[in-house]
Amino acid sequence: MQTVANVVLLGSLYLLLATGFVLIYRGSRVMNLAYGDTMALGAYVILLVAMASHVNWTLAVLLALVIGVLIGAAMYWLFVRPVQDHPVYVPILVTIALGILIRTCISLVFTSQNRYLDEVLQIPKYSVSLAHLQINFIDAALVGTALAYLLVVALGLRRTSFGIRMEAVAENADLAALRGISPAGVLAPVWGIAMIGAVLAGFFIGVRTTVSPDIWLIGLKGLTPALVGGLSSFRGLVPGCLLVAATEVLTIQYIDPVLGEVAPFLVMLAVLWVRPWGLAGKPEQIARV
């Protein structure tokens, strides 16, 4: 039972991250390799908000989410939008550079000291026993939040006019512009919404372990399940995240923890070898890329 719980928990963390990756890619066709760093930044934003405002922890997280949305939108507007019409590798390189910049700034301002979000936020610690398992409040919240985020994002894009505009821009930005849809006006909020996943992932990592500048590496690992599920598909996210998480957990628990780092990539290679577009991606979108 504990193994299943471990898979679900790790899968949920990956789900938060992978949803952000897919949202950005689906909207702007950019693979955001700064996403891990924005996750770390999100954790520090929560820390700053909590220390500056001394509000209840839920309010601190909500405020941090709002700030995160603004940061995500600003990132797109200032750094990605100017190069989006360039060859595909240029925006990717920009995100890599942006990630390094964020990481360096975090180290300079915050130093490499470990920070304890749960201590700063004063999050209540309680747990319940369920079928021989101890389930604590934060772990349950992680699972619920990850699913809720995915549902809100996926359904929101499908059933709202904003979502339709986003798909139009992703399909053909020039045509969308001719139809009166501002690509930048759509994509900036998309990047902002993706930042919500990053901030939430940073929050859960921070309260379950520590916040330090190194956690960006964990954020970047969210790309693997996104690729496995299909970088342009929300439907593939849950199976992709669970598959990667299960592989990693089982490898750690029954083989070797160091191989647990490698196993997700082996799964990714295996899946992409058979289905280059991922479990639920669409072949024609790969041709476009």
Binding site: T3, N6, L48, Y116, R208, T209, P257
Partner: protein, 402 residues
């Protein structure tokens, strides 16, 4: 500014300095003195920025604070100390660059506060240049400073970490406190020195007739510590000895506790402030550096003032290991006199005996054969929910350096 909001009072001047480091890859700091006259020249290569730098950057600040303090009080033998600080980010290539640069700068003494992957070029440089090399802060003492059978004439160690005695102590402590029926687990990071620590402990436990039920080396960027914790629980481990970065202590401990684990974890990192934040009664920290805040060390006030003077970003109690490095450097330069050549300094250091003022458990007592110390001393601390504070579980206990 952002830094204003921190409880630990980050200082913008230090942040600007580090910004220069990030751009240029070096942190040049020439500490100009209130004392006049030609200066003693000391170089330092430290792990100031980068992942895991939190273990070493405070030592650099502590050392700088001490030197600044000495200069403000008139220097040593009437001469100021000019300090040149370089950041190596614990990267071998940068360590090599720094060693070359510090050799070119022709210092009286080179100090080193970084990780062991950077040591080789520093040791080679000490050999070639004839300038004594001293390891300080939380750097681990290299074998060249130890009596194996005789220390290298140019290599000295005033740092807090002596791997052999450290490992011996934590194993002895676990053997003493963990009942024979309690299964032992070992936790390390997937880096050579941490794996070495776990492997060495395993051999020592086996020599003492205790089997290790589970030994894990975890990657540095572990996404989730739940599976590792499950392995320890499945093996029935009731006591874990950890040797590696502190981040994994927190991760594994929290994951294990959330899975219902009631055992004890003993770690060898001197992180007083972390213990206060984690608040787990069964997390024990073994340390060669006194928890100055807990024991209300009288010297902490001076460190705080000196730290403020240089714009230190870390808390005063985090600067103590580097501060001791400063104490030893002052004693060494005082013993050398003026004028002082590197060769004369190395000779003077060969018989130095320095009182560490209670920050370490005993003196730094060098002999021509042993440039570390004759004994390593350790304390153990834990959080007490009953008292609502950190308590000292074990007072200074000596392990001889053989």
């Amino acid at each position: 500014m952002v830094s204003h909001w921190f409880q630990d009072k980050s200082r913008m001047p230090a942040a600007r300095l580090l910004l220069a480091a990030a751009v240029s890859g070096v942190t040049p700091v020439a500490v100009q003195a209130a004392a006049q006259g030609e200066p003693y020249s000391v170089g330092l290569s430290g792990y100031i920025t980068g992942p895991g730098a939190a273990d070493h950057a405070p030592s650099v600040e502590g050392f700088r604070a001490y030197i600044e303090r000495v200069n403000a009080r008139g220097g040593i033998n009437g001469h100021p100390v000019k300090l040149s600080v370089l950041d190596d980010r614990a990267e071998p290539a940068r360590g090599a660059d720094n060693a070359r640069r510090l050799a070119d700068e022709k210092h009286h003494l080179v100090t080193w506060a970084s990780l062991s992957p950077t040591y080789r070029p520093a040791l080679a440089s000490a050999e070639e240049s004839g300038v004594p090399l001293m390891f300080i802060g939380n750097a681990s003492c290299p074998d060249q400073a130890l009596p194996k059978p005789k220390a290298h004439p140019m290599v000295f160690c005033a740092s807090s970490i002596l791997i052999g005695p450290d490992l011996e102590f934590v194993v002895q402590y676990a053997l003493k406190l963990a009942p024979f029926s309690t299964k032992i687990g070992l936790l390390a990071a997937d880096i050579p020195i941490s794996r070495f620590g776990a492997d060495t402990q395993e051999k020592q436990f086996q020599s003492a007739g205790r089997q290790v039920a589970e030994k894990l080396a975890l990657p540095l960027a572990t996404s989730d510590y739940g599976p590792a914790a499950t392995r320890f629980l499945s093996a029935g481990v009731g006591w874990i000895n950890q040797w590696g970065p502190f981040g994994q202590v927190v991760g594994v401990l929290r994951a294990a506790r959330s899975q219902g684990w009631k055992g004890t974890l003993l770690s060898s990192v001197p992180f007083e402030n972390e213990l206060e934040k984690i608040r787990d009664d069964k997390l024990l920290l073994a340390t060669a550096v006194a928890f100055a805040k807990t024991v209300k060390h009288p010297g902490l006030r001076e460190i705080e003032e000196a730290g403020r003077a240089i714009g230190a970003t870390f808390q005063p109690n985090q600067l103590t290991a580097g501060w001791v490095g400063g104490i030893v450097v002052e004693a060494a330069l005082k013993a050398c006199g003026w004028p002082c050549t590197p060769a004369q300094l190395a000779k003077a250091m060969g018989t130095l005996n320095v009182d560490t003022q209670g920050f370490f458990g005993g003196p730094i007592d060098w002999t021509p054969e042993n440039h570390a110390r004759s004994k390593a001393y350790y304390q153990v601390y834990r959080w007490s929910s009953e008292k609502g504070s950190i308590v000292r579980e074990l007072d200074w206990t000596a392990i001889p350096i053989r």
